[in-house]
């Protein structure tokens, strides 16, 4: 009697502890990962995709300081194509629409970089 009750209690505790994991495994599906639209031309980015995904903000900040503060706007050659150290002069030449590229991840991660308050993207200002 006593022994079976303690088994019962242990089972109940285990069930309670496992419930959230079980719910996430069997129950509601996780929100879908954001899917930024990649350039169709299939060109090579200045760094591998995995690195860009994690560290593009660091690269952009470094480019910004190089161009603005040190005057180093130099070219980066990747796969035969040369790029300037420039958000509007290089990045968005391939990743044209920020709504379909930048915003998709930024919105789902609730980050709001201030780049576009000044820099002009996509169709803005283009006749």
């Amino acid at each position: 009697m006593k022994k079976s009750r303690s088994f019962l209690v242990a089972g109940a505790i285990a069930a309670v502890l496992a419930a959230p994991f079980a719910a996430s495994y069997f129950g509601e599906r996780r929100p879908a990962l954001p899917k930024p639209e990649l350039p169709r031309a299939g060109k090579e980015c200045v760094r591998p995709a995995a690195e860009m995904r994690e560290r593009h903000m660091i690269l952009l900040n470094r480019w910004r300081d190089d161009a603005v503060r040190r005057g180093l706007r130099g070219e980066i050659t990747v796969g035969g194509a040369a790029y300037r150290k420039s958000l509007t002069g290089a990045c968005i030449k391939c990743h044209g629409e920020k709504e379909k590229f930048c915003d998709r991840c930024h919105a789902s991660l609730a980050v709001s970089p201030v780049c576009w308050r000044c820099h002009i993207h996509g169709k803005e200002g283009r006749p």
């Binding site: 603005v68 503060r69 002009i120 006749p127």
Partner: protein, 256 residues
Amino acid sequence: MKTTRRDLLIKAARAGAVLLGGTAMYEIVSGSEALSRVRGRGARLAMAVDLPRCAAEGECDRCITACHRGHNVPRVPDELREVKWIWKEDMARLFPEMIDGPVNGELGRRKTVALCNHCAEPPCVRVCPTGATFKRENGTVMMDQHRCIGCRYCMAACPYGSRSFNWRDPREFLDPGALNPDYPTRTAGVVEKCDFCAERTDAGGVPLCAGACRAGALIFGDLNDRGSGIRSALAGRFAMRRKAELDTGPGVYYLL
């Protein structure tokens, strides 16, 4: 080789200078310390305004239009809150200390252009608490809008009124269809000014204003380069710089 009396005296004088004051003293005597302070380490980009050529164009404002279009400078109707990189001003107001001298009579009433002087010793750089405005090695006084916190110390420090504050979002005053997409706008709350078209001069070009002037009245170049156009433009002509007595070392010359 025989030591002449002259050589001996020169050597003795040099040794004496080193002994008396050390190398610092020697630098001051030879003038190299003062020169490197003014000249900078690399280039010293500057501009000369050829006043007769500018006046011959009459009511022209092509330099201002080219600059303000190219840099997305907003046209704010309120004069107290206007934003300007290059603007027209009466000679008498540019050179108030010279109205009894070279700038009297007709010349005082004539208008010409004013812009950031890209000083050798810029007071704006000295007061900026974040390093948002800084002096580049080529002599340009540059703005890094990313670091500007809008404190406006630089505006108080600049003796030339060359800086403007964005009281409102500048895009309110810009035609979205006429933006230059290759150059950013600014946001509300930052200071802006002429940067000698750093993105062009880094690529070896000339600033937009100098390129737009039909009369060739705006001569741009490197003062440390003996073969530059600005050196030959300045040679042998009387040139004035705004408030040179403040010892900021302005880099914009006005040729009489």
